[in-house]
């Protein structure tokens, strides 16, 4: 059975350890592969011993991966924070656009539906303000953290706090989108207007749902990658 190449084994191990950021793992693998083969050639030949020496001088795969973790995960968390702020803006524009459209069409809720509409709108407004405030605080917090060269306990705690704030903002944002969808559905069920009239409200709700979905996916991905990095690098 042919002996495995220490360089190939090392690259596999490093790619595994960098599983918290697949794009980064791909880039680092290519870069390190070039380094290790050059170091092997500098050791005289491409023998197993020369490869093993190059790998030894490079350092432990886990240790190297941990030095990438802080920057990568902070970048992911910052991206989630930016999405919250962006989504807040999009929701605001969609809500205002819808209200302006209803005004233009002189389309009001009937007296019978007014009480329900008021309650849902109050929930919507409160949830939106809460989401915006928590999102802004979370974004400001994670953006002001300095990049640590190591994935140590303080760095993990900061990421955890940033992600908790992002999740705390995402929940009311989802509630706000649901409330908007409920009010819009109530209006539709009441009057059953033609598509040309109802198109703008449906489009605005679709935009809100899309932003909320992107936000939830981004936070989920960052959370998963942070947990993965924590378990990989602390074991």
């Amino acid at each position: 059975m042919p002996q495995r190449s220490p360089v190939a084994d090392y690259l596999d191990a490093l790619t595994r350890e960098l599983g918290f950021d697949r794009l980064l793992a791909h880039r680092v693998r290519q870069e390190v592969e070039d380094h290790l083969w050059e170091a092997t050639a500098a050791n005289g030949d491409s023998s197993i011993e020369a490869q093993a020496r190059a790998v030894r001088c490079f350092g432990e795969a886990r240790e190297i991966a941990s030095q990438y973790a802080a920057l990568s995960l902070l970048r992911q968390a910052r991206r989630s924070g930016a999405i919250i702020v962006l989504a807040s803006g999009a929701l605001y524009i969609a809500m205002k656009g819808r209200v302006a459209w209803y005004g233009l069409m002189q389309w009001a809720l009937s007296d019978a539906m007014q009480p329900v509409g008021k309650v849902v709108l109050a929930i919507d407004r409160t949830a939106y303000i809460l989401a915006f405030l928590l999102g802004a605080v979370g974004w400001a917090y994670i953006s002001s953290r300095r990049v640590s060269p190591r994935f140590h306990a303080l760095c993990r705690a900061q990421l955890k706090r940033g992600l908790l704030l992002a999740m705390a903002a995402a929940c009311p944002m989802v509630v706000s989108v649901i409330a908007d969808a409920v009010v819009t559905a109530l209006r539709y069920l009441e009057e059953r207007p033609p598509v040309s009239v109802f198109f703008i409200p449906v489009l605005s709700i679709a935009i809100e749902v899309a932003f909320a979905a992107v936000l939830v996916i981004a936070i989920g991905k960052t959370l998963r990658n942070t947990l993965r990095a924590s378990s990989l690098l602390s074991s």
């Binding site: 980064l24 001088c57 350092g59 190297i64 060269p149």
Partner: protein, 112 residues
């Protein structure tokens, strides 16, 4: 001590022109007379971090071997950051040199 100054060392190694990771390590060893012994892989996260901070730029090239190679270069911000760090280091080195160079001269007391 070396770890605390790694960013400055990497920036200094790139001051002579664009280079890839392996060449940066060779340059550090050459210019330091082999005084610094750290795992070679430590350089790559530092390069990545400095690039994210806007102090370095990078692009892929194809080496003679046919392998993909990432080449790094100092940006204007990186050049300024290196000049700042050089000045800070020089002041620190002068101060320590003054202290260690004249054992008979005690530093001025603060009056306590």
């Amino acid at each position: 001590m070396l770890k605390g100054h790694l960013d400055m060392i990497v920036l200094a190694a790139l001051s002579s022109g664009p280079s890839h990771g392996y060449a940066v390590i060779q340059e550090i060893q050459r210019r330091s007379g082999g005084a610094f012994e750290l795992p070679e892989g430590t350089i790559y996260p530092a390069l990545h971090r400095l690039e994210q901070a806007g102090l370095l730029s990078s692009h892929w090239t194809t080496a003679e071997s046919g392998r993909q190679r990432r080449v790094y270069a100092l940006t204007k911000r990186g050049t300024r950051a290196l000049a700042d760090q050089r000045a800070i280091w020089q002041r620190f080195a002068d101060a320590i040199g003054g202290l260690l160079g004249h054992p008979g001269h005690a530093p001025a007391q603060s009056g306590r």
